[in-house]
């Protein structure tokens, strides 16, 4: 059973069909890519899957469970999390505080337990949470910068913080929106590629929206190609990048 499945997902904005009856499925513990020209609807698909946008029609299934229209925070609890293109962080907090905010809390029964547990007199985070946050910061290689306010970090470092936050949620399925954007070639090959592989090896399933073909070819086992809101093709990176029609759509000749 695929970890994630969409069935005829559809979304329009006024007269514009942003996503047209999109059906795809993701395999477990793999890195899958979603590529296509600008305006193809890739980010819309992400928003539809992760509950930030309600679809007009269609369903999203996670672990065979229908999660269409679930709110984002509920999905995180179920094991589905996303990060944002251009990186969204809590700018006035330090890196470790950002990650600590994302650490999965033990849910001891009931919707309101989180609130009650949250009212502990300990100022801020408990020891367990801080330890976990430290662990994830080290995992992305930012141990030395954990005390820095994220507003002062470089863009690449901010990206790493946001990935550490994703890890901290302990979500099984991670959706990364353009992880390569804004990174230079060295950061990509030295940091991002190995990190993505490390995550997949650790059992996480990654779904990436990407424009960087090098990353897609290097890291993705399978690729979906979107255009004008529809799924045009799916296959290995080699198959997709070799196809002359797709090349024309994406690169123009």
């Amino acid at each position: 059973m695929p970890l994630l499945q969409t069935v005829d997902l559809t979304k329009s904005f006024g007269g514009i069909r942003a996503v047209e009856r999109l059906s795809l499925s993701l395999g477990d513990s793999q890195i899958t890519g979603l590529i296509g020209p600008n305006g193809a609807g890739k980010s819309t698909v992400f928003n539809l899957i992760t509950g930030f946008l309600p679809p007009d029609a269609g369903r999203v299934l996670f672990n065979s469970k229908d999660i269409t229209r679930h709110s984002p925070h509920k999905l995180v609890e179920l094991g589905l999390a996303r990060c944002w293109q251009g990186v969204r962080l809590f700018n006035n907090l330090a890196a470790i505080e950002n990650v600590a905010m994302a650490v999965k809390r033990p849910s001891k029964g009931g919707r309101f337990s989180g609130l009650i547990i949250g009212w502990t007199p300990i100022s801020g985070f408990s020891r367990e949470i801080i330890e976990k946050a430290r662990h994830y910061i080290e995992m992305v290689g930012l141990a030395g910068k954990s005390r820095d306010v994220v507003a002062d970090l470089s863009f690449a470092e901010r990206k790493l913080v946001s990935i550490a936050m994703l890890l901290a949620t302990e979500a099984k399925l991670l959706l990364l929106d353009e992880p390569a954007s804004g990174l230079d070639a060295k950061s990509l090959t030295r940091t991002m590629f190995p990190l993505l592989f490390k995550l997949a090896e650790a059992g996480r399933t990654l779904f990436l929206v990407e424009h960087n073909i090098e990353l897609v070819k290097e890291c993705c086992k399978k690729v979906f190609f979107m255009h004008h809101g529809a799924l045009l093709a799916e296959g290995t990176p080699e198959e997709i990048t070799r196809d002359s029609e797709l090349k024309q759509i994406y690169f123009g000749t």
Binding site: H73, A81, R82, F90, N92, L93, E97, R147, M165
Partner: protein
């Protein structure tokens, strides 16, 4: 001297209003502009119930309950509309509540208000004098401050601050934004109503003119001048903005212009303060270094 106690008790009460608004607006970045309405609802509740023979303390509890329930009138729409529109909605709510207070003459006495409100009685002691009332507010205000501070420093409060900073980021790491906002408004507005219940016994009289949009703007100013996101700042803000108009009364002026000139000076003072302290008097960013050091040192 009685006059000083009167001003002092007003400072305490308005400090509570500022602190409550700060939790909602300063921490949670929820654009609520109707503090005076909940203040008034608490005041009328206590006035009417004590006139019906109730003891004061239960009326404060009722005011808190009413404030919390009524906060859902603005917190539920708050989840669905953009920040700017929430400001408009709450301003409308403020005006609506004022008009209700003005026109429900049988209950609120309209612009004539409610008179002969009995003084507070607690533990057999009657708080009749300005001094005793002031001392009561001097106990009430710190208690409210500590309660709000406890909330603000808890895991819930930190999450609320994160939500205020970036709602989408907070959602993506699993924060139930809607629930946090509803709770923030319930807490803030119920304590505001509690302050109102206390306020109705400051003099033996209340009327709707104390609960206008103008009064909400005063609370907003207290929060901004003191520093949004800084609870101590609201206390400083209340002290300055409540005592300033009173101090200006001692500056000799021809009575025909005195009121207007005072308003002018008041406005000018706020502008000057914000020019010198753009983030409010106590609005300096708290350095993360110290906070993180403390956090990491906590249990190592």
């Amino acid at each position: 001297m009685d006059y000083v106690f009167l001003v002092g008790s007003s400072i305490c009460i308005y400090a509570v209003l500022g602190v409550c608004l700060n939790l909602i607006f300063g921490y949670g970045n929820i654009g609520v502009v109707c503090s005076a309405s909940f203040f008034g609802i608490g005041a009328y509740t206590s006035a009417l119930l004590t006139l019906a023979g109730w003891n004061f303390f239960p009326t404060m509890l009722v005011a808190i309950a009413v404030g919390a329930l009524l906060s859902m009138v603005i917190s539920l729409p708050a989840l669905r509309v953009h920040w700017d529109y929430l400001v408009i909605i709450t301003i409308a709510f403020n005006i609506l509540m004022y008009q209700t207070m003005l026109n429900l003459q049988d209950i609120t006495g309209g612009s004539f208000g409610i008179r002969d409100i009995p003084p507070i009685e607690l533990f057999g002691f009657l708080f009749k004098t300005r001094l005793s009332y002031f001392l009561l507010t001097l106990v009430f205000a710190p208690l409210c401050f500590l309660a709000v501070r406890y909330v603000a420093n808890s895991m819930y409060g930190i999450s609320l601050m994160a939500i205020g900073e970036d709602e989408l980021a907070a959602k993506s790491i699993g924060k139930n934004v809607g629930l946090h906002k509803i709770m923030a408004m319930a807490i803030g507005m119920s304590l505001t109503a509690a302050a109102g219940s206390l306020f109705s016994h400051q003099s033996t009289y209340i009327n709707c003119e104390s609960f206008t949009l103008h009064d909400t703007v005063l609370v907003l100013s207290i929060m901004i001048v003191g520093g949004m996101g800084n609870l101590w700042g609201s206390i400083v803000g209340a002290f300055i903005l409540v005592s300033l108009p009173e101090l200006l009364k001692f500056v000799g002026m021809s009575s025909s212009v005195a009121f207007r000139v005072r308003e002018l000076i008041f406005g000018l003072a706020i502008v000057l303060v914000l020019m010198l302290f753009p983030k409010g008097i106590m609005g300096k960013e708290q350095p993360a270094e110290g906070r993180v050091k403390h956090m990491l040192k906590q249990k190592s």
